[in-house]
């Protein structure tokens, strides 16, 4: 607790200021904020901080509230125990006194005052434990019993009934007060009878309970406050770590991340979530930067061409020439628009917004539909087209985007995958695994050299050979983004000969089992595992 004590003295002015006025409190807050900021700037010197900052944490507040609740419950339980026990003991004492009173009343009825005296003598000689008796005459003279005199409170009393008084007892350590509960009988002849019991032990019991209560509460409070301070300091230290990181990031050090302790507790989870968010933001910013520079570079060329063509059209003499130039201008504009739309789609896929609209998608069905759409055109090109797909292959995703990805892969294969000799053999295969669904598009064309396979997934990258063919260089990069959006990946492999593009998507967790179980297959209409288009 040494640092805490140190910091108490450190923040005393702030503390008194906070108590005296509201503005003082504000000043304290801003001072604390300022202190944290400068401390952050200096580095690992984060231990110096006021105890009031610790006290103001939510952890400390929670501990304090818990402590209060605990103390109140303990007090209530003890008070109730004491009250019940005392009631019971007192009732027992009163019962014994009442029995005594009955016995003495009988004696009095039979033998008169003399009988009472005899009984009282007998009782005092027997030494009833804690028993106190007295019979005194009208003049206050003690006739029998072990009480030295009629207590003052009773001298004027004429009504019989329960009374409480104290007597002074001489002990070796001096005179001591003892509490007595008694039944007082006032007889017609001016005689007073007191039949009582020493109930000092009841009071002792009450004192013990009170001491236990005080000690318990005191210790609990002390331990609670101490523990609360420790917990809060630890909590505050970690929160300060997060705050410091956030401030550093705000100040421009974007690579900084929130510290994770590795305990996996809620603060770690918060830190991890924050880090994930920061990673995502960084990725987005990087993507944006890349896209803007790419757009600047790669849209300039077609725009320049477009402008030149329009100028030509303006200058052109003949109606036919002009018409031709304009038609070509529109075609160019369409091409530009398409490029632009692809860029937007990529940006959208990378921003991850589309995830909100994810639903269950049967990739096998998408493959069948797209295959049906493209099979005729491949056949018209003189190529062969084959589809292998299971009955069902569920993933969580965006149907339009997955279809778009497959279409891009197919069009890519149709454009660049035609072998120099012989016919294009294009195949689409959907394979379901335990974890993934693979959509595999393969051709038998020239393929992509290994060193270029990663490169072509980037925006605007086209193989040299392909420059002559139309295209924006965005097709595969869009597929890669769509794969990333679905937590999947695009792999380009050698099909020997040709290219094998594998779009791997994670299987939909809860539906994956159902999709693969035999029972599910049996329940369907089509029991054959594969369909061939």
């Amino acid at each position: 607790m040494a640092p805490a004590a140190d910091s108490t003295t450190h923040s005393t002015p702030a503390e008194t200021g906070g108590k005296s006025s509201g503005t003082g409190k504000n000043a304290d807050t801003s001072q604390a904020g300022y202190a944290a900021e400068t401390v952050t700037g200096r580095g690992p010197h984060t231990q110096r901080r006021g105890i009031w900052r610790v006290v103001r944490t939510s952890t400390f507040r929670l501990v304090a509230i818990y402590l209060l609740v605990f103390a109140v419950s303990v007090a209530a339980v003890l008070a109730y125990t004491w009250w019940q026990a005392q009631r019971l003991l007192q009732a027992q004492i009163e019962q014994t006194i009442a029995a005594d009173v009955r016995g003495i009343a009988e004696q009095y009825a039979i033998n008169g005052p003399g009988g009472v005296v005899a009984v009282l003598r007998r009782r005092t000689q027997q030494g009833v434990p804690g028993g106190l008796y007295l019979l005194s005459g009208p003049d206050g003279k003690v006739l029998a019993g072990n009480l030295p005199q009629l207590p003052e409170e009773l001298q004027k009393r004429e009504r019989s009934g329960w009374v409480d008084f104290t007597i002074s007892v001489i002990t070796p350590s001096g005179p001591r007060e003892r509490h007595v509960r008694a039944y007082y009988i006032h007889l017609a002849e001016g005689l007073h009878i007191v039949i009582g019991r020493d109930i000092e032990h009841l009071f002792q019991f009450r004192r013990v309970i009170r001491n236990v209560l005080l000690w318990t509460l005191g210790l609990t409070t002390l331990l609670g406050i101490g523990g609360g301070l420790l917990l809060s300091r630890n909590f505050l230290r970690r929160i300060d770590g997060i705050t410091a990181s956030v401030r550093a990031i705000r100040a421009g050090r974007l690579a900084r991340r929130v510290p994770v302790e590795g305990s996996g507790d809620e603060l770690d989870r918060l830190a991890e979530a924050l880090n994930d968010m920061l990673d995502q933001i960084e990725r987005l910013m990087q993507g944006m930067r890349e896209v803007s520079s790419n757009i600047a570079h790669d849209l300039k060329t077609p725009l320049t061409r477009l402008k030149a063509q329009t100028e030509n059209a303006l200058r052109a003499g003949g109606e036919e020439q002009r018409r031709e130039a304009l038609a070509s201008t529109i075609a160019q504009a369409d091409e530009l628009l398409r490029t632009f739309n692809s860029l937007l789609l990529i940006a959208r896929a990378e921003a991850g917004q589309a995830r909100a609209g994810f639903s269950e998608v049967d990739v096998a069905e998408v493959a069948r539909e797209v295959a049906e759409l493209y099979e005729p055109i491949v056949e018209d090109m003189g190529g062969e087209f084959a589809l292998h797909a299971p009955r069902r292959a569920l993933v969580l995703g965006d149907r339009q985007l997955i279809a778009q990805a497959l279409v891009n892969l197919l069009e890519n294969a149709m454009k660049y995958g035609v072998p120099k000799e012989g016919a294009l053999r294009l195949s689409v295969e959907v394979r379901t695994g335990r974890e993934h669904v693979d959509i595999i598009v393969s051709d038998n064309g020239p393929g992509i050299p290994e060193e270029m396979r990663e490169k072509v997934k980037e925006r605007f990258v086209r193989l040299d050979k392909a420059r002559s063919a139309p295209g924006s260089g965005l097709g595969l990069s869009l597929v890669a983004s769509i794969a990333r959006l679905h937590d999947g990946e695009l792999r380009l492999e050698d099909n020997a000969p040709g290219l094998r593009a594998v779009l791997r998507l994670p299987v939909r967790r809860d539906a994956g089992k159902a999709g693969q179980s035999k029972g599910d297959r049996g329940g369907g209409i089509d029991t054959s595992g594969e369909a061939r288009a």
Partner: protein, 224 residues
């Protein structure tokens, strides 16, 4: 057809009005939201062309208000927001079609004409007839001049869409959206191949072709 254009961009609006009038339609213009809503309420229009972002009141609210008042005039949204979700949002607000900017005029015209026809026709039909071609939607049978034509399921859907919009130009994008339910533009001429296959089945061997290509726009199915 009587068409109301609600569009705040003057230049785009004038270009639109000119094109619509050249195509033989009567077109009015409103340049802000409240004015557009008022005109749509007062006038008797066949189709509304509504920009999504308008001063005073956005396009979605206009169409939503009209639908709440029981006005079912077909509405086509124009918007720079072209993503699927925006389309869905537009259709949910009561729009009948959605076109993302920039669009080609032929695409817009084709869609508007299809929408205009929808207002008048379309009780539940079980039989479609165009010229000597007949389609039984219940038996999934197509005959031309009494001769049965066998079609694949998708070809059937394609022909059904063309028959429902007989006499109107339908674009490739419209076909891809309505027959295949895909909202993107492929780079290759996939639709053309399907059309030519369909043409091979419904026109081959008959003296008068019904399925015509409209250059620069799309296709039209008509009896003569």
């Amino acid at each position: 057809m009587h068409i109301l254009v609600i569009e705040d961009d003057r230049e785009a609006a004038n270009w639109l009005l000119k094109g619509l009038r050249e195509a033989g339609h009567v077109a009015d213009l409103a340049t802000n939201g409240p004015e557009g809503l008022q005109m749509a309420r007062d006038g008797d229009y066949d189709v509304l062309i509504v920009d999504r972002m308008l001063p005073g009141m956005d396009g979605l609210s206009i169409v939503r208000s009209l639908r709440e008042e029981g006005d079912q005039t077909p509405a086509l949204f124009l918007s720079a927001l072209g993503e699927v979700e925006d389309k869905v949002e537009g259709l949910r607000a009561g729009g009948d079609d959605y076109l993302a900017k920039p669009y080609s005029f032929s695409e817009l015209l084709a869609r508007v004409e299809v929408l205009g026809r929808r207002k008048t026709a379309e009780p539940v039909q079980t039989r479609l007839r165009v010229g000597d071609m007949e389609m039984d939607l219940l038996k999934r049978r197509v005959t031309r001049a009494g001769q049965e034509i066998l079609l694949q399921p998708r070809e059937f859907k394609l022909l059904e869409y063309l028959m429902r919009n007989a006499g109107n130009v339908v674009t490739r994008t419209m076909l891809l959206e309505n027959v295949w339910n895909y909202h993107f533009d492929p780079q290759t001429n996939v639709i053309d191949v399907h059309i030519s296959r369909l043409r091979g089945k419904i026109d081959k061997g008959f003296d008068k072709p019904m399925l015509h290509t409209v250059r620069g726009s799309g296709y039209v199915l008509k009896a003569d």
